[in-house]
């Protein structure tokens, strides 16, 4: 798949919550090709510190308008630089990168498990999946975060007609506890399901274990430190099981970030 390195034009910083923004960028080649689960590497300025670009999952893409967006919260020098980019200025952008979520067409119920800032790629996935569902197919969103104000994308999910169940660690909204508790409960329903998850790696590990135990196909989007995003630095190593029975380090930026749960060697 073709990857582009281009100056994307800032269209809008749309405030989503305190300190949280959706950055809308105009870059037609990327908007046209982006698949849910894929990401871009952004570089707001040619700085030495911060040095690395940062990976951002694509939150939505509109090929007709040539725009796509990413979600960010201002919490570092990098995100502050990003937030200061004026409308009409450009952000050097590499993308679209990586693997993507693939709908399991045999499933009757699609369960999307979103942990905190892991929600954006699942918003994108849900928006592409919902219009393709057949009669009787269900879309269930399980969204979790530490606190109520850290939940992302609930309005988007609801607008798609999905059932949304919420968990917060501090009990400030929905079920008090982990989103994986909601998943465990959901998987007790014998309906034929498939799971797609993005969130902290420790959450994904639990999601993978639950799905493997229930024989439910599961795709996870993994997080890893990512200096390059194009497969050369080998920094974003993920341990995977090889067909010959051995293990190897593969790359979250090329072979991932979306992996089948059974591929990953969970440690």
């Amino acid at each position: 798949m073709t990857r582009y390195e281009l100056p994307a034009v800032v269209v809008e910083h749309r405030q989503r919550a305190t300190n949280q923004y959706e950055l809308i960028l105009h870059a037609p080649p990327i908007a046209e090709r982006a698949m849910p689960g894929q990401f871009v590497m952004l570089r707001p300025m040619r700085t030495h510190a911060p040095l690395w670009r940062r990976p951002y999952s694509i939150l939505r893409a509109n090929p007709d308008k040539g725009v796509f967006s990413v979600f960010y919260s201002v919490q570092s020098v990098f995100t502050e630089l990003l937030s200061l980019k004026p409308i009409g200025s450009t952000v050097q952008t590499l993308g679209p990168l990586g693997s993507y979520f693939v709908p399991v067409r045999t499933a009757q119920r699609h369960i999307l498990v979103a942990g905190g800032v892991g929600a954006p790629p699942l918003c994108f996935f849900a928006s592409r999946l919902a219009p393709t569902l057949q009669a009787g197919e269900q879309l269930l969103i399980l969204a979790g975060a530490r606190r109520r104000d850290l939940l992302v994308g609930l309005d988007e999910f609801r607008a798609l007609g999905a059932e949304v169940r919420i968990a917060t660690d501090d009990g400030s909204h929905g079920y008090p506890g982990y989103v994986t508790d909601l998943l465990q409960h959901a998987l007790e329903d014998p309906i034929n399901s498939a799971v797609y998850a993005c969130g902290p790696n420790r959450m994904l590990k639990v999601v993978a274990r639950l799905c493997l135990a229930h024989g439910v196909p599961c795709q996870v989007s993994l997080d890893a430190p990512m200096p390059c995003g194009i497969g050369v630095c080998l920094g974003c190593a993920v341990k995977v099981a090889m067909p010959d029975g051995g293990v190897w380090y593969t790359r979250a930026c090329i072979e991932g970030p979306v992996f089948r749960a059974e591929e990953v060697v969970w440690e």
Partner: protein, 304 residues
């Protein structure tokens, strides 16, 4: 008049002095979407070992002020897979290919070098005598002049290709190591490899790399690289030098040439600006034209 960008490092003739550093450009093919590899001075492959290496456990990389630490541990598919699958595709691009050779023993260096010397399409060998991310070999060789001499001399007997010794800055002054490499038969020196460092996560109260120690690269090490290049230039004025360490712009590249480098390598900057090496080629041409220099040679060593 268009300035002449060609450079000769002994028997190694390059269309321009801009190379990409081992381990920062994959096998080159990963960059084809953005870079015409035939326009680069040379592509240095990631280091090749006799058998596939899985590398170190993650986290393997950490961002630091104006730099990064890595402890990837020479993950690669091994020299046989490179020769069978990668080199034929790389040759189709028209790239000048320099193979980086690594090993844990003198014999491993020699076996890898021998395999690479038996095929068409390799312009030179670069001996990685300085990788900090191996339990054995690599920098262990690079910090003992007698071991450097042994590796270089033994490989020298197995190949007619130009031999580049890539040296570590982690043993203090590089000059004794440089002299040992040249006396043992190295044609060209490449300096520097990464600088040892650690990084700590204050919140998690642990090292940020699983291997604890990594190699520092990026703009932060540019003055260190330039110091060593300048010092080695003084003691070995007749040996072609390749400068590497923190080059992030055409200005940086020019600085190394002014200090006496015959060629330069772009390293960590390839991660953040995949087109940078090409920008430097164009920028060098503009610099020479703007200042009325006919060639790269005309500016080499002007700052001494």
């Amino acid at each position: 008049m268009t300035p002449d960008l060609q450079v000769s490092l002994g028997k190694l003739h390059l269309r321009n002095p801009v190379m990409v550093a081992a381990g920062t450009f994959g096998y080159g093919l990963e960059y084809r979407d953005w870079v015409d590899l035939a326009q680069l001075g040379a592509v240095v492959t990631k280091s090749l070992t006799l058998t596939p290496r899985m590398g170190n456990p993650p986290p393997r990389v950490a961002e630091t002020p104006a730099g990064m630490l890595n402890a990837v541990g020479l993950q690669n598919d091994g020299v046989d897979a490179f020769l069978l699958e990668t080199l034929p595709r790389l040759r189709e691009t028209g790239a000048i290919v320099i193979a980086s050779v690594a090993g844990e023993t003198v014999d491993e260096y020699v076996q890898v070098a021998a395999k690479l010397s038996r095929v068409e399409g390799i312009a030179a060998l670069e001996l990685n005598l300085s990788c900090p991310n191996q339990a054995r070999g690599g920098m262990e060789f690079g910090l003992q002049p007698d071991l450097i001499a042994q590796v270089v001399a033994t490989v020298r007997q197995t190949t007619d290709l130009p031999l580049i010794a890539k040296l570590s800055p982690n043993g203090g002054e590089i000059t004794p190591f440089a002299q040992a490499a040249v006396e043992a038969g190295a044609d060209i020196l490449c300096l520097i490899n990464t600088v040892l460092g650690v990084a700590v996560d204050a919140q998690a109260r642990q090292f940020r790399l699983a291997s604890k120690v990594g190699g520092l690269s990026g703009p932060a090490i540019k003055p260190i690289a330039q110091y060593h290049l300048w010092r080695v230039r003084q003691s070995l004025p007749d040996t072609p030098l390749i400068g590497v360490g923190g080059i992030s712009s055409v200005e940086d590249a020019i600085e190394f040439l002014l200090l006496g480098a015959h060629a330069i390598q772009v390293g960590t900057a390839n991660y953040v600006q995949p087109t940078l090496a090409m920008e430097i080629v164009d920028g060098l041409r503009n610099y020479l034209a703007t200042h009325g220099f006919p060639s790269i040679e005309a500016i080499r060593g002007l700052v001494s």
